[in-house]
């Protein structure tokens, strides 16, 4: 490597070229402590994500990816942020890139499944949710997701099976129990739905949703 090669003082005079080739110089500026280090920006990204400032997150992601287009966890965040901005196809594209790199993270499969769900491609969504579940078998939210997709595809038996599994596992949230009641409602089985909401309120006495639904269905 000829790092001391003589530099000739000539110009190419292209501003466009200067701005388009900024990736390598940003790395240098970061290493010279002139520009914030990637780790610092990444920490900022995590904080902003937790606080729900998605627009800021997207800006930070692009800032990192501009220097390091393969920064794995930034790609994960970027994919998820795009989902939250409603850009499902683009989100799925980035998450696929992450999954090509690393297929052992359950949340990546779940995130991509969420994209397919929003894109109404329930079969593909189920495939991803099942892969996520295989890596994290006691995730009630994923079971709930599979149940919903199965229901929407008309596979009611699987829907009830999965939601029952979710109910078994979930101890803190009333969501799976409510979901089951919603399935009954969607199938016009109001009595069963009412009964399920009552069960929900027994287990989760603070469930406002269940309380309101019981009032609503009892009045019918």
């Amino acid at each position: 490597m000829d790092k001391d090669k003589q530099i000739q003082k000539v110009s190419k005079l292209s501003l466009e070229k200067l701005s388009e080739d900024s990736k390598l110089v940003k790395r240098g500026l970061r290493d010279l402590n002139v520009w914030p280090k990637i780790e610092n920006i990444f920490n900022e990204l995590k904080e902003n994500y937790q606080a729900g400032f998605i627009d800021e997150c997207i800006k930070l992601c692009l800032e990192i990816l501009n220097t390091d287009p393969n920064h794995f966890f930034t790609l994960c965040y970027y994919g998820r942020c795009l989902y939250q901005k409603g850009e499902y196809e683009k989100s799925a594209e980035y998450l696929t890139k992450c999954l090509d790199e690393e297929s052992n993270y359950f949340f990546l499969w779940k995130f991509r499944g969420d994209c397919y769900y929003k894109m109404k491609d329930y079969e593909k969504a189920i495939e991803d949710y099942k892969k996520s579940l295989a890596l994290d078998p006691t995730n009630a939210a994923t079971l709930d997701d599979i149940a919903q997709c199965s229901f929407l595809l008309g596979d009611f038996k699987s829907a009830y099976d999965y939601i029952d599994q979710a109910i078994q596992i979930e101890a803190e949230s009333d969501m799976p129990m409510i979901r089951k009641a919603q399935f009954f409602e969607a199938q016009q089985q109001q009595a069963k739905a009412l009964e399920q909401y009552k069960k929900t309120l027994e287990v989760f006495p603070h469930s406002e949703y269940a309380r309101n639904k019981i009032l609503e269905l009892s009045n019918l």
């Binding site: 490597m1 790092k3 190419k12 005079l13 390598l24 393969n70 052992n104």
Partner: protein
């Protein structure tokens, strides 16, 4: 009572014209100075870029290559733990990392082209370079798109010839130049010209500010600041990256040995 309005009498007109012409000439000088300044800055930044790319940029790419090699072994280890043989794992991993390798090669290609460009300028003599610069300045003042009679296409041609050290083209443009300066100097035309100049000055000032916010400008500032303290930060940076490369190459040779590849 009829109010007497000052009109554009034949006595007033020459005075107003003179004032406008004076203002135009001042603005033209200012614009020319700005064009010189911004073009000089672009040259300076290009030099910083070339120096950086040769001294440091290439090393970062080398570092990326070594990083990729480490990642390759990490992935191979992961696949082996899932029951793949080393050969199978290697095949799968090579395929998944192909894109990244291509990215790095692409970057190398860019640097190679840049260096080829630098090389091609070696043959130009000092006198020729001086003439090149002089001609370029003269023509830039005439054809710069921000000038009243500017011509973007021509400016591109001039810049290209200058960048390629093509003195002949610049000479030809200079000789074929036709004087199109016969203008009808009505007050209206002069006012328009002045307004146009103001607009150009604003535009070019904005471009100047933008340039000053660019990464290359920040690097240039830092290099100059360090130079005053007798430090050469590009060499320091290069040494740091070289040390990183050496450390990681060690790691790679360890991994190669482990898998009987060394």
């Amino acid at each position: 009572m009829t109010k007497i309005v000052k009109s554009n009498t034949s006595l007033d007109e020459p005075l107003e014209k003179r004032e406008l012409e004076k203002a135009i000439s001042e603005r033209e000088k200012k614009l020319n100075a700005l064009i010189d300044e911004i073009e000089q800055l672009k040259i300076d930044l290009t030099v910083v870029k070339q120096e950086y790319d040769v001294k440091v940029g290439r090393l970062y790419l080398k570092l990326d290559e070594v990083d990729l090699e480490i990642l390759k072994f990490k992935k191979i280890e992961d696949l082996i733990s899932k029951g793949f043989s080393f050969e199978e794992a290697q095949k799968v991993v090579e395929e998944t990392l192909r894109k990244r390798r291509e990215q790095i090669e692409e970057e190398y290609k860019k640097l190679d082209e840049e260096e080829k460009d630098i090389e091609s300028h070696r043959d130009i003599s000092e006198e020729d370079r001086a003439e090149l610069k002089k001609l370029w300045r003269k023509l830039a003042h005439k054809y710069h798109p921000d000038k009243a009679n500017g011509n973007e296409e021509m400016m591109k041609k001039i810049n290209k010839a200058y960048a390629e050290g093509d003195l002949e083209t610049l000479r030809a443009i200079d000789q074929n130049e036709v004087s199109a300066d016969i203008e009808v100097k009505t007050i209206e035309a002069l006012k328009n010209k002045l307004a146009g100049l103001e607009k150009s000055i604003n535009k070019i000032s904005k471009e100047f500010e933008q340039l000053k916010r660019s990464e290359w400008y920040i690097l240039k500032e830092n290099i100059e600041k360090a130079k005053k303290q007798k430090r050469d930060i590009l060499s320091e940076l290069a040494d740091k990256v070289l040390a990183d490369i050496a450390k990681k190459e060690n790691q790679v040779s360890g991994l190669k040995k482990k898998y009987g590849q060394g």
